[in-house]
C-alpha cells in the first residue's frame, strides 16, 4: 500500500494533468532508444511502499553508473573529486598536479573552501596553484623526471610539512609511477610525500576521486600522531567549509565542550589528519564523499561512527543531541541543551519572519552527493516543499539508505578503484571504544546508519539521478519550481527561464548555511531569491500579458493625479 495520501498531488500546483508519471515520460520522450533505456533507470518516482512487517520499500535508482555521452551532464571527473573536493580544503599541504596546466588551473581557488590561520607564520598554500605543466615532450618521453624536479623545487621554496601529487588523465596513460617518485622524494626530503592516482577517466564521476583521496589519506597520514584526545572528542567527516560552514560548526562544538580533533577537510591541517584516529567518535556529514574513511578508521582503530547533518536548525539540534547521547554524560547533555537554548530563539524569530513569505513555494534540488538531501531540511523549515531531487554523483545508498549496500553490484567502473583491506591495528586499536559502541547499540542507539534521501522525501516525488540539461529544462517548463538548486553550469540557463537558481556548491559566494546561524542566513537568502521584485519585471511593459500593458496611463498614480488636478 502507498505510504501517504498525496499520491495524486500534482507536481504543478493546481494543474492536475502534471503528474509525476507524465513528467517522467516527457523527460524521457526524445532520447534515442539506448539512451532512454539507461535514463529510465535513473528517473524514478518515489513510490514508497510499506511491507507487511512495516518496513519501507523504495524503488531502485541506478545511481553511480556511467553518464551517457552527449546528454550534457552536471558531472565532473575523478580528479575534481580527489584534488578539488577532498584535498583542496587542507591548507598546509602543497598539492602538485602532475599534468598539463588546465587541471590545476581550474581547481585553483574555485571551490570556496575557507580556511583560518591564526597568524601569517602558519602555512597556507590554498591560494597557490602548483603544476608540473607537462608539455608534449613529457608525454612522449615520460614525466617522472619533471615531477621529481617539481617536488624538489616546491620543497626548496616552501618547506611544507607534506607534498601531495595528483595524476591527471595523460599521466595514467603514459604510465608515470607517481607513487614511486613520491616514495623516493619522501625518503630524500624527510617530509611526507604521497600521490593519488586520480586520473579524470576513473570511475563515473567525482565520486571515484573521493574514494581514492580517502584511501591515500588513510594510508599515508591518519595514525601518524598518537596524541591523546579527551573523552568527548570527535572528527567531523565530510564537511568542506564552503562559505564558512565549518567555522559555525566548530563554534557550536566548542561551546558544547566537544573536542574537535579534525575535520575532513574544511579548515583542516595535516596534523589534524595525522591525529584523527585518536578521536572517540566519528560524525559523518557528507555520507557520499567520506563514509569510506569512517569505515576504515572503525576497522583499524575501533572508533564508531554516526551520521550527522548540520544543515537545518532542527537537524543541527538533533545532531548535537545525537553526539551527546552517544557519550551519555549528564554534563555534556546539559551543555548541548544550553547551546541549543541559546541559539533557537533567533531561529524561531527568523522563521516567523520568513515562513509566511516562502511557505507553499516549491523547490527542486539537483546537486552533489548529500546536499540535495540535506538542504531539504532548510526548505521544510521555511514551509517549502521539495517536489523533485537528485544527486550529481551519489550512489544507491545515498538515495535508498545503507541497507541496500549488500545488494549493490560491483561493475567495471567501480572495480578499478582500490578497495583497501583494513585490519585492526595491533597496538592502536581501542577495544574500549568498540565496546562502548556495542553497549550503546544495545541500548537502542543507532550507529553507522543512513536512510538516504528518498525515505525523507514525500511519496510520489520525482527522483532524477545525474540529471541532463534537457531533463532540467523540461522539468522547469512543466512544474515551474520557485527555486532550483544546482551548480554554476546550470545557474544561468535556469535563471534565463525565469526561475531563481541557488548554487549549492559555491553557495553563490554567500553562506555560511550550516548550524543555527547558517539556517537563518539561508532563510533570508531564499526569501531574497523567491520574492525578488525583478522576476516580475522580466516582460517589457509594452508586451502583451504584462500588467502595465493593460493600464491606460504609463504614469504612476501620484503623477497621474497631479495631472488631473492641474487640468
Amino acid at each position: 500500500m502507498s505510504e501517504s495520501s498525496t499520491t495524486s498531488d500534482p507536481l504543478r500546483g493546481g494543474d492536475a494533468s502534471v503528474t509525476p508519471a507524465v513528467v517522467r515520460e516527457q523527460l524521457l520522450r526524445d532520447y534515442p532508444a539506448k539512451t532512454k533505456k539507461k535514463r529510465e533507470k535513473q528517473i524514478v518516482i518515489n513510490d514508497k511502499q510499506r511491507d507487511e512487517d512495516g518496513s519501507l520499500q523504495l524503488p531502485v535508482v541506478a545511481a553511480n553508473t556511467r553518464t551517457v555521452p552527449g546528454i550534457i551532464t552536471q558531472r565532473g571527473c575523478c580528479y575534481a573529486g580527489c584534488k578539488g573536493v577532498i584535498l583542496g580544503p587542507t591548507r598546509d599541504i602543497v598539492n602538485i598536479v602532475h599534468g598539463p596546466i588546465g587541471c590545476s588551473f581550474y581547481s585553483w581557488l574555485t571551490r570556496r573552501n575557507q580556511t583560518h590561520t591564526p597568524t601569517d607564520e602558519h602555512d597556507n598554500f590554498m591560494t597557490y596553484c602548483f603544476s608540473t605543466d607537462m608539455i608534449e615532450e613529457n608525454i612522449i618521453f615520460g614525466g617522472e623526471k619533471r615531477l621529481r624536479q617539481a617536488i624538489q623545487e616546491a620543497y626548496d621554496l616552501f618547506h611544507p610539512k607534506a607534498i601531495a601529487v595528483f595524476s591527471t588523465c595523460p599521466v595514467g596513460l603514459i604510465g608515470d609511477d607517481v607513487h614511486q617518485v613520491s616514495a623516493e622524494m619522501k625518503k630524500q626530503l624527510g617530509i611526507n610525500v604521497f600521490a593519488f592516482s586520480c586520473e579524470g577517466y576513473k570511475g563515473v564521476s567525482q565520486s571515484a576521486g573521493h574514494h581514492i583521496a580517502n584511501n591515500q589519506i588513510f594510508k599515508h597520514v591518519i595514525g601518524e600522531d598518537d596524541t591523546t584526545r579527551s573523552q568527548w572528542s570527535i572528527n567531523l567527516l565530510g564537511e568542506y567549509n564552503i562559505g564558512g560552514d565549518a567555522f559555525v560548526i566548530e563554534d557550536l562544538l566548542e561551546r558544547c565542550g566537544i573536542e574537535l580533533v579534525s575535520t575532513f577537510s574544511g579548515n583542516s591541517t595535516y596534523d589534524q589528519f595525522a591525529n584523527a584516529h585518536m578521536a572517540r567518535l566519528n560524525a559523518v556529514m557528507c555520507h557520499r564523499s567520506i563514509n569510506y574513511v569512517a569505515d576504515m578508521i572503525e576497522k583499524k582503530y575501533g572508533t564508531p561512527w554516526i551520521k550527522v547533518n548540520f544543515i537545518g536548525a532542527n537537524a543541527t539540534a538533533k545532531s548535537l543531541r545525537k553526539i551527546a547521547e552517544y557519550f551519555d554524560d549528564r554534563r555534556l547533555t546539559e551543555n548541548v541543551e544550553r547551546v541549543i537554548g541559546e541559539e533557537f530563539p533567533a531561529v524561531v524569530q527568523a522563521q516567523r519572519k520568513y515562513r509566511p513569505r516562502c511557505s507553499g513555494k516549491r523547490a527542486v534540488l539537483f546537486v552533489g552527493g548529500s546536499r540535495a538531501h540535506h538542504y531539504q531540511e532548510l526548505f521544510r523549515e521555511l514551509g517549502m516543499e521539495t517536489i523533485a531531487a537528485g544527486y550529481e554523483f551519489a550512489h544507491r545508498d545515498d538515495y535508498e539508505g545503507r541497507r541496500v549496500l549488500p545488494s549493490i553490484k560491483i561493475d567495471a567502473d567501480s572495480r578499478n578503484i582500490e578497495e583497501l583491506r583494513v585490519d585492526a591495528d595491533q597496538e592502536k586499536f581501542r577495544e574500549s571504544d568498540r565496546q562502548k559502541g556495542i553497549a550503546r547499540e544495545k541500548q537502542g542507539y543507532t550507529l553507522r546508519e543512513y536512510d538516504g534521501m528518498m525515505a525523507e522525501m514525500k511519496d510520489q516525488t520525482l527522483i532524477i539521478d545525474d540529471i541532463s540539461h534537457s531533463e532540467a529544462e523540461r522539468l522547469i517548463r512543466m512544474v515551474r519550481p520557485d527555486v532550483f538548486c544546482a551548480g554554476i553550469k546550470e545557474k544561468y540557463s535556469v535563471q534565463k527561464m525565469g526561475v531563481p537558481c541557488k548554487q549549492l556548491h559555491s553557495y553563490d559566494y554567500g553562506g555560511p548555511y550550516a548550524g543555527f546561524a547558517g539556517a537563518i542566513n539561508f532563510y533570508e537568502e531564499i526569501d531574497r531569491m523567491v520574492n525578488a521584485r525583478i522576476w516580475s519585471r522580466v516582460q517589457p511593459p509594452w508586451e502583451n500579458g504584462s500588467p502595465a500593458a493593460e493600464s491606460k496611463s504609463p504614469l504612476p498614480a501620484s503623477m497621474a493625479e497631479s495631472e488631473e488636478n492641474t487640468n
Binding site: D30, I101, D133, I139, E153, G200, H469, K489, Y492, K496
Partner: protein, 464 residues
C-alpha cells in the same frame, strides 16, 4: 594577514619544472569559447567529463551566462579502447535531443594521447546516418600539453575555415571583409562589427560570440541564441576580398587557412586595443572602402586623444605589471606606452615564437627598463616576486591578480580571462577608440582612487 604569504622577493631562483600560479590555461577552453561563436553550434569536449565541466564552469563564471557544451564522458574502458564508441553515441544523442546545426568537437590531452582520429570517427557517424542532412560535425585538435587557451581558440577558428569556407569564384567580392576578432569579449566583437559597418564595409566576423554570451533576460532560455556566425556566412568567407586577422596568435592561423584554401588574401594586425593599434585597424579597413574614414570614427579618435591630453599627468611615469595572453599583452603594452605608463613587468604562459619580438617592437628604446617573460616559469608567482623586489603602480590582468592587489596594495584593472568577480567586461568593449576610452577611464579610476585613499589630508584634492 597576507593571502600569498609564501611569496618572497630577494634572489629569484629559476624553476625548471614547477609552475606556480599560472598565467595561462589549456587549449580546450579556447576551442570551446570559439565554437560558441558559431550560430546553432554545440561545442563538444572529447575526453573525460571533468574537462568539459571545468571549461563550462569557467566560461559561465566569466560571462554569468549559460555555456552549453557536451562531453564524451570517457571511462577507463574508453581510455584503453579509444573513444570512438563514446563519440558516436554522443553525436547521436546531441543531434536527437539538442538539434544543433553544428557539433564542434575539440580534443583533450586524454583523447590525443590515445590517438583518437576525430575526422575518421565523424565519417563513421555519417556512414551510420547519425548526422542529419544539412548538419555538420567539425573538429579541432587541441591537446592540453601543446600551446595554451589562445592556441585552442586559433585551432578551432581555423577548423571553421577548413570545414566550411568555399571559394565559388576567382573574383572576390569587393567591399566585403572577413574579420577574425581573436579572443575578445562579445562586446568587442559587436564593436568590431560596428566599426567595420561605420567604415562602409560589409563584414563576416568569425567567431562571433555577441548575442550568444551576452543574452538578454527574457524568461526563455534559448539553447542556441540568435548570435554566432552562421555556417552560410562561414562558407561565404571564401569569397570575401580580404581577411583581417586581429591578433597573430588567435587569428592568423585561420586567415592563413583561408588564403590557402580559398585564395583570400589576409593581413594580420595586432588586436585593436589602444590608439595606435586601432589606427592600424582603421588604416587597413580604409584600403577597401575607397580611402575614406567617416567623421564618426575620426571624432571617436579625437575624444580618445582629448582624454589622454587632459589627464596625461596622472598617467605619466607610472608603472604597470601585466599578465595574460600574448595578443592582449602586446596591444595593452603599446597603449600604456602611448600614455607614458611603463609596462614594467609582462608575463604570459602561452608559448609562441613571435611574442618576444613583438614586445620588442612595441617597447623600442624602453626595452631595458622592462622585464618580459614567456612560457615555462612565466607565471604569477614570478611576477609577484618581481613586484616584491620593485613595486609597480598598477596591475592589469585577470581576477587572479586580486590576491597580489590585496597583499601589496596595488590597484588592479581587470582585463583578460577569466574575470570571475566583476561584471562589465561582457558589456563594454575595450577595442577601438571607444574601447580605449573605457580602458583608460578604468586605469584612471584605479590610479586616482588610490591617490584619494592614500594622500595626506592636506593634499586631498577636490578637483583632479
Amino acid at each position: 594577514m597576507t593571502l600569498l604569504r609564501h611569496t618572497r622577493g630577494g634572489e629569484i631562483t629559476e624553476r625548471q619544472a614547477l609552475t606556480i600560479n599560472p598565467a595561462k590555461t589549456c587549449q580546450p577552453v579556447g576551442a570551446m569559447y570559439a565554437a560558441l561563436g558559431i550560430h546553432r553550434c554545440l561545442p563538444h569536449s572529447h575526453g573525460s567529463q571533468g574537462c568539459c565541466s571545468y571549461h563550462r564552469s569557467t566560461l559561465s563564471r566569466h560571462y554569468k551566462e549559460p555555456v552549453m557544451a557536451a562531453t564524451s564522458s570517457f571511462t577507463e574502458g574508453s581510455s584503453v579502447f579509444g573513444g570512438q564508441a563514446n563519440l558516436l553515441q554522443a553525436i547521436n544523442n546531441i543531434f536527437t535531443v539538442y538539434q544543433p546545426d553544428v557539433i564542434a568537437v575539440h580534443t583533450t590531452c586524454l583523447s590525443e594521447t590515445i590517438g583518437d582520429d576525430i575526422p575518421q570517427i565523424a565519417e563513421k557517424a555519417a556512414e551510420k546516418d547519425l548526422i542529419p542532412a544539412g548538419k555538420s560535425v567539425i573538429h579541432a585538435s587541441t591537446p592540453s600539453y601543446v600551446g595554451a587557451a589562445p592556441t585552442g581558440f586559433a585551432n578551432m577558428t581555423a577548423g571553421m575555415v577548413k570545414y566550411f569556407s568555399e571559394s565559388t569564384s576567382p573574383n572576390k567580392i569587393g567591399g566585403r571583409v572577413n574579420v577574425i576578432p581573436g579572443w575578445v569579449e562579445p562586446a568587442d566583437m559587436r564593436e568590431i562589427k560596428r566599426i567595420v559597418a561605420a567604415m562602409g564595409l560589409e563584414s563576416i566576423v568569425f567567431p562571433d560570440t555577441s548575442d550568444v554570451l551576452d543574452c538578454p533576460q527574457t524568461g526563455v532560455h534559448e539553447m542556441f541564441p540568435k548570435g554566432g556566425v552562421t555556417v552560410d556566412r562561414l562558407r561565404a568567407a571564401g569569397d570575401s576580398a580580404v581577411t583581417i586577422a586581429l591578433g597573430p596568435v588567435c587569428s592568423e592561423p585561420a586567415a592563413i587557412e583561408l588564403t590557402n584554401q580559398c585564395g583570400v588574401p589576409h593581413a594580420t594586425l595586432p588586436l585593436p586595443i589602444g590608439l595606435e593599434a586601432t589606427d592600424r585597424f582603421i588604416l587597413e579597413l580604409r584600403k577597401y572602402n575607397g580611402g575614406v574614414v567617416p567623421r564618426e570614427i575620426t571624432d571617436e579618435r579625437g575624444r580618445l586623444i582629448d582624454l589622454i591630453t587632459d589627464m596625461h599627468q596622472y598617467f605619466y611615469n607610472k608603472t604597470a605589471a601585466l599578465w595574460g595572453d600574448p595578443d592582449q599583452l602586446v596591444s595593452l603594452s603599446e597603449m600604456l606606452l602611448t600614455v607614458d605608463i611603463l609596462p614594467k613587468y609582462v608575463v604570459t604562459g602561452t608559448p609562441g615564437k613571435k611574442f618576444l619580438r613583438r614586445m620588442g617592437d612595441v617597447l623600442q628604446d624602453r626595452k631595458s627598463e622592462v622585464q618580459v617573460r614567456q612560457g615555462a616559469g612565466a607565471d604569477l608567482f614570478l611576477l609577484h616576486q618581481w613586484i616584491k623586489n620593485e613595486k609597480v603602480d598598477l596591475l592589469i590582468g585577470n581576477t587572479y591578480g586580486k590576491y597580489i592587489r590585496r597583499d601589496e596594495g596595488i590597484p588592479l584593472v581587470r582585463h583578460g580571462f577569466p574575470i570571475l568577480d566583476r561584471v562589465g567586461h561582457q558589456f563594454f568593449p575595450t577595442v577601438g577608440y571607444r574601447g580605449a576610452i573605457r580602458l583608460l577611464e578604468q586605469v584612471l579610476e584605479a590610479l586616482m582612487q588610490r591617490q584619494d585613499d592614500e594622500c595626506s589630508e592636506e593634499r586631498f584634492e577636490l578637483t583632479m
